[in-house]
């Protein structure tokens, strides 16, 4: 009995360690953003629809907003576009878009064809702002609270289910009593 005690103990320990590892291993496809719980990056970028205007993070202080990174070259962005339009219809939180590495003409044509769900669209033509947000593939969607903290990040196309479960549930209850 005794001579099996140590190997058995080691085996049991291994089982426990590996079980913890498997249970905690994240989905390999999505990388957990270190931005979660931290202040969203400050930005001041040209406005896609009006080059004389600047889309600034300081203008968004005190408000919740959704920050959606997209590009016309991005297939999944097309897939989530309807969800974004629906979110705009709900009128619960503004969506700030960031057009990532896109020729302006393409972006304008895309919005004309599919509709514009954004309150404002910032332009990141050379990809520097995307690095600040830790973006590694479009679409990526962040939820930023009224204190400027990133509370959630979704990688990949936004679906109505994801919107309801992960975004709506995190938003504060509506202030507008007429609607509820």
């Amino acid at each position: 009995m005794n001579r099996f005690a140590i190997p058995l103990g080691v085996f049991a320990l291994l089982v426990v360690v590996l079980a913890i590892g498997i249970a905690h291993s994240p989905d390999k496809g999505t990388i957990i953003s270190p931005l979660l719980g931290k202040p969203a990056p400050e930005f001041a970028l040209p406005n896609l629809l009006d080059a004389s205007q600047v889309v600034k993070s300081s203008d968004l202080k005190g408000r919740w907003y959704v920050f959606n990174v997209w590009g016309t070259w991005c297939y999944e962005c097309r897939a989530e576009h309807n969800t974004l339009l629906e979110v705009r219809q709900q009128n619960v939180v503004p969506i700030i878009g960031m057009d990532w590495k896109d020729p302006q003409a393409d972006a304008l044509g895309y919005l004309k064809q599919l509709g514009n769900p954004y309150e404002a669209i910032a332009v990141d033509r050379d990809g520097r702002e995307a690095i600040d947000w830790g973006v590694y593939g479009a679409p990526e969607t962040f939820l930023v609270n009224d204190k400027g903290i990133v509370v959630y990040k979704h990688v990949g196309a936004l679906t109505p289910e994801v919107w309801e479960k992960q975004f709506l549930s995190r938003l504060p209850p509506r202030q507008d009593p007429a609607k509820s």
Partner: protein, 145 residues
């Protein structure tokens, strides 16, 4: 034969230029160039996760290489650049994980295993050597085999 060799050589040269073409960046000094190459080889391309940004042809890798270059030219240290990347993309962007309290147990594990193994070995050797003077009977295992 000669023609085949020439073709092979041409192919190799072509391959080498294609491989080099991913990143033609030249830093102004050899020291900076060396640090640039070091950093771009130890940062992961987040889009094609098993490639370093130095080897990846995707856009994001090029943007990250530009970021590394700009920061080096601005006089930032290698650790500044690593910290910058980790703050945005997480530890995962480093191919070589750094020691931290979170993964300390992992770094300690080999040492602990060696220690446990040594203790077990010492105990077995002590038990066996204690047997020898008083006991001339063969060991149980020896009879069975």
């Amino acid at each position: 034969m000669r023609r085949i060799l020439t073709a092979l050589l041409a192919g190799l040269v072509l391959y080498a230029t294609v491989a080099l073409a991913v990143d033609p960046t030249q830093m102004p000094t050899p020291a900076l160039q060396e640090r640039y190459l070091g950093l771009t080889h130890e940062l992961r391309c987040m889009q094609c996760q098993n490639e370093a940004i130095a080897d990846s042809p995707v856009d994001l890798a090029a943007d990250l290489r530009r970021q590394v270059r700009d920061m080096l030219l601005a006089g930032k240290s290698d650790d500044d650049i690593r910290n910058y990347m980790v703050a945005r993309y997480g530890e995962f962007i480093l191919f070589r994980p750094r020691a931290s309290w979170k993964n300390a147990w992992l770094w300690a594990a080999p040492g602990v295993l060696i220690l446990v193994g040594a203790l077990v070995a010492v105990r077995i050797i002590q038990q066996r050597s204690a047997l020898v003077p008083q006991d001339n009977e063969p060991l149980e295992e020896d009879i069975r085999s």
